[in-house]
């Protein structure tokens, strides 16, 4: 086995057996079982979260492990066949247990809701605190192919007419997807209306709920359409709101947050964001990582899957893998794959697998988490800097701003089409989708596929399969 392909497992901290990633390929669930047979026990022993060495903190396990515990959709996805990818999936799939272990080992567990990326920077700056997003449980019904959480939410008054993010409410009600948080920081305001409803209904399950107001981003346009962002008032408001978050955290933890601690927290967040930015360049520019893994990676910017240090190490491993592939001229997608920009994260990850299987590759994304991708200014007052970065948020501005981001990425990567996966009942989707679609067509004359993601299922519905196939055929015919 070649040592130069020994990506991400070098270094003096452990002597591990040589591991050589196979040639990059998207492999099936069954193929990962074959690959895992070759993973030496020493590697399984190597990776732990929370810097712990107990058996419960290991996480290098194959999709089969999580499938046995109910993650049935994993059986239908295609996975990157690198060790770094295996590590990433094991780490991410393990998060429910990790949150309970956080509590068991004396950490404070703080739920952050709605803002998708900013408040965890503050929370994680407190020693022994772990932030997480119940919002991200919206994937769970799809991964488990289950209505359980939706049914639980429906019993509390929020049914199928609302966004899939209502799964978070079901999770609160059950007390089995995360430990009861020490504090819930719920952001609302100029954001997703459905999720504000979820937050309000979840309040009954919170020991303490702190509401944070998200301001609207003012976008002034001249007759040529050029935009000037007016963020001053918004930053002022948000800074005050974040001061309240700090006060609440001081009280909950009994620890007075020092300026240096917050700055260090920002630096850690930025390290993650810079790595992800580089991974986006490599994946969307060079095709060295697939869209499914990239969605998981991008959403890691929200709360680092509840362990910043270990997630940072996982990202470093992924980056080493990606750079190695780029240096060797390897790619995980076909060179002539159809290039598409994906707008709004698909609640059903199988959609990404389907589209890639059908011969496309994702070259850009607008997953409504732009605020989590921005590097935070480290030179100014820290809370103001976090507020400033949040003003880039996808959902607090106009649909036009999202559309411009899509157009920018499409131009940069010579995209051949745009896919917008909407959410039935998602308030912003109902407004954004058509506006983004129209803007893309007007600016770039690119075909756009719009659809609403269907509820959890074992497969992509036949009608949608046909629409995707036809769309890709159109893109091919335009070459």
């Amino acid at each position: 086995m070649s040592a130069e392909r020994d990506q991400g497992i070098k270094g003096p901290r452990d002597r591990v057996p040589e591991w050589a990633d196979p040639k990059p390929e998207r492999v099936t669930f069954e193929q990962w079982l074959e690959l895992f047979d070759r993973v030496p026990d020493e590697l399984i022993e190597r990776y732990h979260y929370y810097g712990n060495r107990d058996a419960w903190s290991k996480y290098l396990f194959p999709p089969q492990t999580f499938s046995i515990y109910g993650a049935r959709h994993l059986r239908r996805l295609r996975f990157d066949n690198s060790l770094a990818s295996l590590r990433m999936w094991g780490f991410v799939q393990n998060e429910t247990e990790r949150l309970f272990r956080a509590r068991q080992t004396g950490r404070r567990v703080i739920a952050t809701m709605g803002d998708l990326g900013a408040v965890p920077v503050i929370v994680n700056s407190f020693p022994g605190c772990v932030a997480f997003y119940p919002d991200c449980i919206w994937w769970t019904p799809f991964v488990m192919e289950s209505r359980v959480l939706f049914d639980a939410a429906a019993e509390l008054g929020i049914g199928d007419a609302a966004c899939f993010s209502r799964a978070a409410l079901g999770a609160f009600a059950k007390h089995s997807y995360f430990p009861d948080p020490d504090l819930v920081v719920a952001s609302t305001g100029a954001s997703c209306d459905d999720y504000s409803g979820v937050e309000q209904l979840a309040e009954r399950f919170a020991r303490e709920m702190l509401w944070v107001e998200e301001p609207l981003r003012k976008e002034c346009r001249n007759p040529n359409g050029e935009c000037r962002m007016d963020c001053e008032a918004g930053v002022r408001l948000l800074t005050q709101e974040y001061e309240r978050v700090v006060e609440a955290m001081n009280r909950v933890t009994g620890h007075e947050l020092a300026d240096d601690e917050l700055r260090a927290g920002i630096a850690r967040a930025n390290a993650v964001r810079r790595t992800v930015s580089r991974l986006r360049e490599l994946a969307y520019g060079r095709g060295v990582l697939a869209a499914l893994e990239m969605m998981v990676i991008e959403f890691g910017n929200l709360h680092y899957y509840s362990d910043t240090d270990e997630w940072t190490a996982v990202l470093d491993h992924l980056l080493a893998t990606a750079e190695g592939r780029a240096a060797r001229g390897e790619s995980i997608v076909d060179d002539d794959a159809l290039r598409v920009v994906w707008v709004t994260p698909p609640a059903d990850p199988l959609l990404l697998t389907y589209v890639e299987n059908a011969g496309a590759r994702v070259v850009g994304t607008e997953y409504v988490i732009n605020q989590a991708l921005e590097v935070i200014d480290e030179s100014g007052p820290p809370l103001e800097a976090i507020a400033g970065s949040f003003m880039a948020a996808s959902l607090i501005g106009t649909s036009r701003a999202r559309a411009e981001s899509v157009v920018r990425q499409a131009r940069e990567r010579q995209a051949e089409g745009v896919i917008i996966s909407g959410i039935l009942g998602g308030s912003h989707c109902a407004m954004d989708t058509r506006l983004i679609s129209d803007h893309v067509k007007q600016e770039l004359d690119l075909p756009v596929l719009e659809f609403d993601v269907a509820p959890p299922s074992k497969e992509i519905g036949l009608q949608l399969q046909t629409r995707i196939d036809a769309f890709l055929e159109v893109l091919r015919s335009r070459r």
């Binding site: 049935r72 192919e145 020991r207 303490e208």
Partner: protein
């Protein structure tokens, strides 16, 4: 009363040492499921889809927290060449073990065999009835795997070995030819691990079952020398996948209970041992599953069962690592359904955790945006 959690959510909390809404309830309904579904026992253990459908019906009928596949302990031995009869309405019966005496498998470098012959291990997809189990697991997983854990009993090496060789010769061999016994155990282990791997691929959680390693059959010394190491080897393999492993040894385990955690098992399913003794021996390291008497569930009446289960639950809930209310062994095929219902009803009522999900430990506060 409607449960707050699904069985899968409940089991998920149990295995990470978190309190559940109530104690999981698991009368070991295996071939009895054939009766519930109205099919012959032979159809149950020879047709994977029939096995799965029976289990699905039984799980729903009784409200059990697990789906578990099992017919008899000879499953792997049959795949390795032992012969079984399939009575129309009873479980398979060992007709002829593969070997009359302990074979010389030549694994041991000190073996006297001139040329050790090692027969091939079992293929889970084609040998014996292993495929029946795999089909059953896959079917049940697709049907209900999001809400109910799917378990598959796998006979352990020691029990399998006793089904491969004339039992008297095997037991005598423990004293006279221990190396050959160990070779045989190693041989069986390879097939068992392969079978476990196939179950994992199908979506099932393997449970290791080793009834012929109980104190009713062998001595404590023989358990330590022969059965325990081979159980541990299979469990080590399952831990590669981070699976929570159940070790089921029915019969008398009073003398071996303190050793059983050395196998690495995460949950111990026990039978003829008092729960306080099991807790004292293994309760600090393992969750305990047990252990209502199976003759009582067959022959007793619902009122008596309810009363006795309530008593059992008091003892079981003292287990520091957690408890699953179960029968000590399989629910007999002809158990009256009302008795199983009584078991489940009583266990659920007595197992409720009234403090689950209550936010009483701290003052609940709400603050509004200024």
């Amino acid at each position: 009363m409607k449960d707050l959690l699904t069985p899968r959510e409940r089991f998920g909390l149990l295995v990470i040492d978190e309190p559940q809404d109530r104690v999981p309830v698991f009368p070991l309904v295996t071939a009895h499921a054939a009766r519930v579904a109205g099919i012959s026992v032979r159809d149950y253990y020879t047709d994977g889809v029939a096995m799965a459908r029976s289990q699905l019906v039984a799980q729903e009928t009784y409200g059990i927290d697990f789906i578990s596949f099992f017919s008899e302990v000879g499953l792997v031995a049959e795949a390795l060449g032992s012969r079984y009869d399939y009575p129309e309405d009873d479980l398979p019966l060992l007709k002829r073990p593969r070997w009359e005496s302990l074979p010389d498998l030549g694994h041991n470098p000190n073996s006297s065999a001139e040329s050790g012959y090692v027969p091939r291990p079992a293929d889970p997809l084609s040998d014996g009835r292993l495929r029946v189990y795999l089909d059953a697991v896959a079917y049940a997983y697709e049907a209900r795997g999001d809400t109910v854990p799917i378990l598959a009993y796998v006979p352990a090496p020691f029990t399998t070995a006793q089904q491969l060789v004339d039992q008297e010769a095997f037991l005598l061999g423990l004293l006279t030819e221990p190396e050959r016994v160990k070779e045989l155990l190693s041989y069986a282990t390879v097939s068992i691990v392969r079978f476990c791997r196939a179950i994992i691929g199908a979506g099932g959680l393997p449970i290791l079952v080793d009834p012929l390693a109980s104190g009713s059959v062998i001595s404590t010394e023989h358990y330590r020398e022969f059965a325990l190491p081979s159980e541990a080897e299979v469990i080590r393999y399952l831990h590669r996948y981070d699976l929570d492993v159940v070790l089921h040894i029915c019969g008398d385990t009073r003398a071996t209970i303190a050793m059983m955690p050395e196998t690495g098992a995460d949950l111990l399913s026990i039978d003829r041992i008092e729960i306080p003794a099991a807790v004292a021996g293994a309760g600090q390291r393992c969750r305990i599953i047990g252990n209502y008497d199976t003759s009582s569930i067959l022959l007793s009446d619902p009122q008596t069962i309810e009363r006795e289960i309530t008593e059992m639950m008091k003892a079981g809930r003292s287990c520091p690592k957690g408890f699953v209310a179960a029968t000590g062994c399989e629910v007999p095929v002809d158990t009256p359904p009302e008795n199983v219902r009584a078991f489940v009803r009583a266990a659920k009522e007595a197992g409720v955790n009234s403090g689950y999900g209550c936010l009483t430990s701290r003052t609940r506060r709400t603050s509004q945006t200024q």
